[in-house]
Symmetry: C2
Subunit: 544 residues, 2 copies
């Protein structure tokens, strides 16, 4: 049997366009001789559709589109991710499901059994779990059908939850010839390795091939990396689709494939993830042009590279916005980088409005504005100028702050936090350096200079913050692993008061992050989506 895995990039809610895309891939699969074509989880809707699922008219439209899909399955079997109404009672009115269609006949639905409700997932908000996971007789084959999370429990790879059931065990008693998995499995760095283990464990237990079909593309904060896979009955990877682009993976089950290792470079994957995340955030909304402040620092330099790659040099405007505190390097280094990238750079001194505000505030306050007031003023004037370019020319503004700064609150609300997308909001400072070296085009002067906001004379981040290497260590232990300050101090050989101080900063700055632009999620636990803390809470203070 020949099977095609259609790794597509749907647009959320764009039902008729998604349906057309699916039909195009069905035709392509048929042309390639495939008897069965598989699409990702919720391919018809785009994942995650969130509260669109609560609109009855949306579900009606989805049903209509499914009917049109059924008509397009002449001489082929289609397994496609969608959502259906739950006709049989239970807590929630919908199922996350795979529609199984054979030669214009709807054979049935295989619903999702394990519904993740943790981190970025809220599937219990909408869905009822499947009654059971079945093997389906399709053509001459016995096909097990699973949806994303369904295969994760078996490998012990689920965090925050332990499901009472295990669809792989349920399938094992039903002797499938192969098992397909429809996924919308969001990216974080090196997630691919975990997925490989999950699929291998399932195929080893089932002693049959696993065909894993993943969504690709960016949807708001979530990025889907693709990398659909074919593992043989021994749990060995024998075929895979591309990462970070649409692909059709053709599998011939009668053919003997050689197993191989797949180890994508984590830095390259991170870069590609940010590129596709940015590109889709723009294209799916109909934006083509990006504008941002190029400060001469490493963060905005990396953003410039990513934006150019995603949108093309001709669609990028960088502004260098010096004040009296800006180093000469800030403008010169920006010019060198802009030239190397072939992007437009405009220089606008923020001194005239800065002067004007200082005069106004001096008079209103009846004293000199404080240091933090003066620093934030500059960042906010820059934000205002960027937004004026956005309003006047239709640029979407990129904010360039990184995860370490967002954690520490080392960013100005309504200043450098302005923008439609926070490209690096989920990238630790240490990974920014890795990206910067990897792209190769960033001038050494930018790589070498110590981090500085340049908002007061000779300011350095290290004046008020410990080294970013230490910050990143504490952040990862606390944010991703929920280790306590005492544990972190002990494990990482750090002073307890320092660790506590950093964690206090994380909590204290929740209010800033709540108003941050959406970011691209590339770690296991991001501020931008999937992490929910109250703004007003005193846990951290009590802890002392």
């Amino acid at each position: 049997m020949k099977i095609a895995l259609a790794q597509i990039n749907p647009v959320i809610g764009s039902l008729s366009e998604n349906r057309k895309k699916i039909i195009t891939y069905i035709q392509q699969a048929r042309k390639s001789g495939a008897e069965l074509v598989v699409f990702p989880e919720m391919a018809l809707l785009g994942y995650p559709p969130e509260d669109l699922l609560l609109l009855p008219s949306f579900i009606d439209a989805l049903n209509s589109e499914l009917k049109l899909l059924i008509e397009a399955t002449e001489n082929i079997i289609l397994i496609v991710g969608t959502v259906r109404e739950n006709p049989s009672g239970g807590e929630k009115g919908l199922y996350n499901t795979a529609a199984i269609i054979e030669n214009k006949v709807l054979v049935g639905f295989q619903d999702k059994a394990l519904l993740p409700d943790y981190d970025v997932f809220n599937e219990r908000r909408y869905f009822e779990p499947a009654a059971r996971t079945d093997v389906w007789s399709l053509s001459s084959k016995r096909v097990g059908i699973t949806i994303c999370e369904d295969i994760w429990q078996h490998a012990g790879a689920v965090e925050y939850s332990t499901y009472a059931r295990d669809p792989i065990v349920e399938l094992a008693t039903q002797n499938p010839d192969f098992v397909v998995n429809l996924s919308a499995s969001p990216f974080y760095v090196q997630k691919h390795e975990t997925r490989l283990k999950v699929c291998a464990k399932a195929s080893k237990t089932l002693k049959c091939p696993i065909l894993f079909c993943n969504q690709v593309g960016g949807n708001d904060s979530l990025i889907f990396d693709g990398y659909s896979m074919h593992l043989n009955e021994s749990g060995e990877l024998v075929q895979n689709a591309k990462g970070f682009e649409e692909d059709l993976l053709l599998i011939d089950l009668e053919k003997k494939y050689q197993p191989y290792q797949l180890k994508p470079d984590p830095v390259e994957d991170l870069y590609k993830a940010l590129v596709i995340g940015l590109r889709d955030y723009f294209q799916k909304q109909g934006f083509s042009r990006a504008c941002f402040g190029l400060s001469g620092g490493i963060d905005s330099a990396v953003v410039a590279c990513i934006a150019k790659e995603a949108l093309g040099a001709e669609n990028i405007l960088a502004l260098t916005l010096p004040s009296r505190f800006s180093s000469t390097g800030s403008v010169i280094d920006s010019e060198v980088l802009a030239q190397k990238l072939g992007i437009e750079l405009q220089e606008i001194s923020i001194e005239p409005p800065f002067e004007s505000y200082l005069e106004l505030l001096n008079a209103s306050f009846k004293e000199k504005p404080s240091g933090v007031t003066t620093e934030n003023l500059q960042a906010r004037i820059r934000g205002m100028l960027l937004m004026a370019f956005s309003n006047h020319f239709g640029y979407l503004i990129l904010s360039t702050g990184n995860k370490s700064e967002m954690a520490m609150g080392y960013a100005t609300l309504y200043g450098d936090m302005c923008g439609g997308l926070g490209v690096l909001n989920d990238v630790y400072k240490k990974h920014i350096y890795e990206l910067a070296r990897w792209v190769k085009v960033i001038p050494q002067a930018i790589l070498d200079k110590p981090p500085s906001a340049e908002l007061s004379p000779d300011q350095k981040d290290s004046d008020t913050l410990p080294d970013y290497a230490i910050i990143d260590l504490v952040l990862q232990e606390y944010i991703e692993h929920h280790h306590s300050p005492v544990e972190i101090a002990k494990e990482q050989n750090l002073e307890l008061p320092l660790v506590k101080d950093l964690i206090r900063r994380i909590h204290r700055n929740e209010y800033k992050r709540r108003q941050a632009p959406p970011g691209l999620r590339v770690t296991k636990r991001s501020f931008t989506v999937g992490r929910r803390f109250p703004i007003v809470q005193k846990w951290n203070v009590d802890e002392e």
Copy 2:
């Protein structure tokens, strides 16, 4: 038996302070002769604690505090809402629970059976449902113990979910003498009436009294109104605690109480909700002083009244920030109102920085900045000045936009949307007028003037928007009831293209709201919390 319902206002995560408060109320209950004292759902943690629940050290600390509480129960029975580890397997590692303690002995835990996962609730993210709902023998009584949602299914009052079980039915077979309900039931206008029906239905089925104990106070966006209640075995309200403040309701079960109606004025309740929401947002974070722009319009006038009531006139600074487009009324009316309220008003013309920006942008753009650029500039200069006052003097800034504007995107990101709290973000324009009339102090000139942003010559909201009465109608039908454009047009006798246009605006402005300050939630479905839509999605465009 004498029972005390302790309607308390905990601070989220402030475990030792909450424990101390609980002990104070236990002592008061004991002094009043109560044999049993009941506290709200999660009284020891504050509700909702969100991802604090994922920190093992937080759960450890909670267990320690519970031990200290146990020590404080000499000669009294305590039923208190907390969280406990789930020792018996299942999907999630925690229970939302009521600890039952009698004379320094932990009798057991009654876990919550129905876990809401919709709207503002995400309890499936953390909790496993109770195995069963029991009647407990306490002193000489048979006591049914339920937690919030547990009693809602029986009255058919749950939206978005239909649970497979019904704790009231489970309890009915066990003949309780009375049933207590520990709640953290968030406010929206007239929710009290629904709660009364829910309690009445339960007590009628069970033929026993229901003692409903609710949390009070504001926690971020959620406001808890209190109004704890005692309904007799016929489902009649016979006692209630105060709304919007802490209270200890003493109940003598041997005594015959007269039933009565409770119909709080919805406008007064809305006002009180906003006052406590604002006050707690400040006090629980340690802020005392608020600053905001007083524009001469009705929204900021209402905010001024609420802020004064919540924080005291001496803690309020209003800024009137006229530009060349401001009407004379804007300053004069603001002065009259500030004087009536006894709050400080400062006038700062935004013309100098406005001029400075226009000049800079003229040069950079090589043309005159567009209308929307110029309008947003003014709003953003005002935002920057407010933030400068915040940075320099420590004011927390209030944003004054209303729900109708937030829906339409009729607000400037980083401009009038600046602030720590969006006081009216969930209040429809029509309710703003009701509040304004109700407070009585707002000058007639402010009540009478047509809505205007005053950002261009003779601008009125009605230049680009239909009447707010129509907007509010469509918003409520679409946002709260998920009716389709076609249904709304038909039911409300409106033109379909108009309805579609308004709904398109709602979706198109998701990106702005994502960066709005947290608002106070006072309707059934708010933008600020509990409503989740993707920014990038094309459903609405397809709909046409």
